[in-house]
């Protein structure tokens, strides 16, 4: 997936605040999302930074409950507030989305920033035809007639690979298969020619063959529209297939972030390594998953969030804050004290994994 800045530039609106090449499409800084619960304040996403460029696919990986979904839903503030509270800055084409009113956000949602979700079975309203739901998405953002919207909708359905699109336009969601429903959701996401697509585990509920088709479709559409994709998944196999860059999240914090080749060839954080060891086809032997559990999100431990489950953890790992993001190679950041001054980073490197992954990843590209 080559980054095509020129192509991306042309679909920018005229009223954009900044449209220079050095401003990332999406730039998130200090994003913190918490929820008021009966057990206290639950911090689902804790002070994370990341960027997504046009035409680029960034994957957020991590096990369930690590805050991946909340992070993506915080971007356009889909999270209900209250009980949720979103802090930090989310700059989209240079404009901080946190400064916008709810009405301004609505004009961006589904238009410039689109979402697709994990469960296509439930993501559409069962009482309306798919055509009605696509037309609704079009007519909310554009003042077009029903006829025009319908024609556009049929084209989009056709584009995402629904056979006989004009005849199936008036069918209800339950008359489509899971894979077709996800295609329809993608068509609905494309109505506004989005610059950014937030895809929250869009293939998790689908079987493997359908999953591959959907990933290919997203890849094609990205090349066609030049959009940036923020893709949430817990499946490292999917990551290897589609990602340009990878962010590894654990308990609301970013553990490691790097280029996709870099992260598979030199997984630096013990958590990233543990995730990879769960993949048998990548030389992993940890079939039973990572021992231990995620920390309590309402009362996270001091120090590194992963310390309790980390085989290399020392006393230093359990004091203070989460270790800072240390750059160990160009654009490869790790939040682990072993990479800091006075520690020996070779202790945490996993030569076995690095050897097993180096050729594998190349083969996958």
């Amino acid at each position: 997936m080559a980054i095509e800045h020129d192509a991306a530039e042309t679909i920018f609106d005229e009223n954009d605040v900044v449209t220079t090449d050095d401003v990332p499409l999406l730039e998130v800084e200090g994003l913190t999302t918490s929820f008021k619960t009966e057990a206290g304040r639950l911090v689902a996403v804790d002070d994370i930074d990341f960027t997504v460029d046009s035409g680029e696919t960034v994957c957020i990986v991590g096990e369930s409950g690590s805050g991946k979904t909340v992070a993506t839903e915080s971007v356009t503030q889909l999270i209900k507030q209250p009980p949720g509270t979103i802090g930090g800055t989310v700059r989209f084409k240079g404009q901080d989305l946190m400064d916008l009113t709810e009405k301004q956000l609505r004009s961006i949602r589904g238009n410039e920033i689109a979402h697709i979700f994990q469960n296509p079975q439930e993501a559409m309203n069962h009482c309306y035809t798919v055509g009605w739901q696509i037309t609704e998405a079009i007519q909310i953002h554009e003042d077009v007639s029903k006829k025009v919207a319908r024609a556009r909708g049929v084209d989009l359905l056709d584009r995402v690979g629904i056979d006989n699109a004009s005849a199936r336009f008036d069918d209800y969601p339950h008359e489509f298969s899971g894979g077709q429903k996800q295609r329809i959701m993608i068509a609905m996401a494309l109505v506004g020619n989005p610059d950014l697509l937030l895809a929250d585990e869009p293939t998790t509920a689908l079987d493997v063959t359908v999953q591959a088709q959907i990933l290919r479709l997203l890849n094609d559409l990205q090349e066609e529209f030049g959009m940036g994709i923020l893709f949430v998944t817990h499946d490292l196999g999917v990551v290897a297939e589609i990602a340009d860059r990878v962010i590894v999240m654990y308990s609301g914090k970013i553990m490691e972030s790097a280029d996709v080749f870099e992260i598979f060839e030199r997984p630096a954080h013990p958590y990233t390594q543990a995730l990879m060891k769960c993949l048998p086809e990548r030389g992993g032997d940890q079939r039973g998953g990572i021992p231990g559990r995620l920390p309590n999100p309402t009362n996270p431990p001091d120090g590194c969030r992963f310390a309790a489950r980390c085989e290399h953890a020392t006393e230093d790992c359990e004091v203070g804050e989460q270790p800072p993001q240390i750059e160990i190679a160009p654009d490869h950041h790790v939040s682990c004290i072993y990479y800091g001054e006075g520690y020996d980073s070779s202790v945490v490197r996993d030569a076995e994994l690095e050897a097993a992954n180096a050729p594998e990843t190349e083969a996958n590209r």
Binding site: I108, R109, G110, H115, N125, H126, M185, M188
Partner: protein
């Protein structure tokens, strides 16, 4: 088409049910002692005649000497050709008496039904949208109050306060005012108010619970992600699926109150409607009119259930008609 076949099958079934009810009614009547025959026997005995001959005469007069199946055919024919007999007490045909009752009952039932259809679901939706806030508690409290308090009792209290003490509303129902007039709306305000508060309780409760479920559904997140405003999301994405289970509640709730409470309401407010006609017929042992009123209520219930089923099936697109 599947839908047309389903509607046809369901309608035939409803007709069959009504037929069974007519049959059972006939059998019950045939088995019950006829008061006019025992009356004739008593009278003959008092006057020194032969009670047995009097009974025979009376039976012959009423066609009761015929075999059971002939009487049954006669009865069924009478029911379906709307020849429901003569009301002795009102000295007019039963159908005419019932029509006169319906004329007054409809005047408060139609506004009551429309208001319930509009207010009930909306209050429930409003409550769900503001769940556990003081607005929700107020709306829920109001709905439960109306649901819990017996309609006739509530009616009497309102009559005493607003009719007798404050004199805002007339106490006596006036049949001489035109149907579509302010005076009629004025005098029907209290009965309609009582019935609406009585029926929206259940409707509002179901509406609140169902829409609470749908407002947290995944498709609401999709709608928000599409840029749909909260108002539109509630109006289209929550209300529409809520109407599916709600439709059955509304129909059954209206039926229950129509068949039960409206009778009491008519007596409290002195409206000479269907309930009043039935009540008077019962008191005066006007058998034909009681039978006619009973059949009418039964038919309304059968038709109501038919509507309930059809509405439910048509509203939920996921229900397949072919499997039925």
């Amino acid at each position: 088409m599947g839908l047309a076949r389903y509607v046809a099958a369901r309608t035939i079934w409803a007709a069959l049910v009504s037929f069974i009810i007519v049959t059972v009614t006939f059998l019950l009547l045939a088995l019950a002692p006829n008061p006019s025959i025992s009356q004739a026997a008593t009278q003959a005995a008092l006057e020194g005649g032969d009670p047995a001959t009097a009974v025979e005469q009376q039976e012959q007069l009423r066609g009761l000497d015929q075999p059971l199946y002939v009487r049954y055919m006669d009865f069924v024919q009478g029911v379906y050709t709307l020849e429901w007999g003569w009301s002795q007490n009102r000295a007019q045909p039963v159908t005419e008496a019932l029509w006169q009752g319906i004329y007054y009952t409809a005047q408060y039932s139609i506004p009551w039904t429309i208001l319930t259809l509009i207010i009930g679901p909306l209050v429930g939706l409003y409550s769900a949208a503001n769940m556990y806030s003081w607005k929700d508690h107020l709306a829920t409290g109001f709905a439960f109050f109306g649901w819990a308090i017996p309609n006739f009792f509530f009616g009497i209290i309102l009559l005493v306060i607003f009719g007798v003490w404050l004199q805002w509303f007339p106490i006596q129902y006036d049949t001489s005012v035109p149907v579509f007039s302010l005076a009629n709306a004025h005098q029907l305000f209290l009965p309609v108010f009582v019935l609406v508060t009585g029926s929206i309780g259940a409707v509002m409760r179901v509406s609140r619970n169902e829409s609470a479920e749908f407002q947290n559904a995944d498709f609401m997140k999709t709608a928000k992600a599409k840029g749909v405003s909260p108002t539109r999301a509630y109006a289209y994405h929550v209300m529409r699926p809520t109407m599916v289970p709600l439709s059955t509640t509304i129909v059954s709730q209206l039926l229950v109150i129509f068949l039960g409470s409206s009778l009491l309401i008519e007596i409290v407010f002195g409206i000479p409607g269907l309930g009043r006609v039935t009540f008077d017929a019962l008191i005066n042992q006007d058998t034909n009119l009681v039978l006619g009123a009973t059949l009418l209520f039964t038919f309304i219930a059968v038709i109501g259930n038919l509507i309930e089923d059809l509405v439910f099936t048509i509203m939920d697109p996921r229900i397949s008609f072919d499997d039925r």
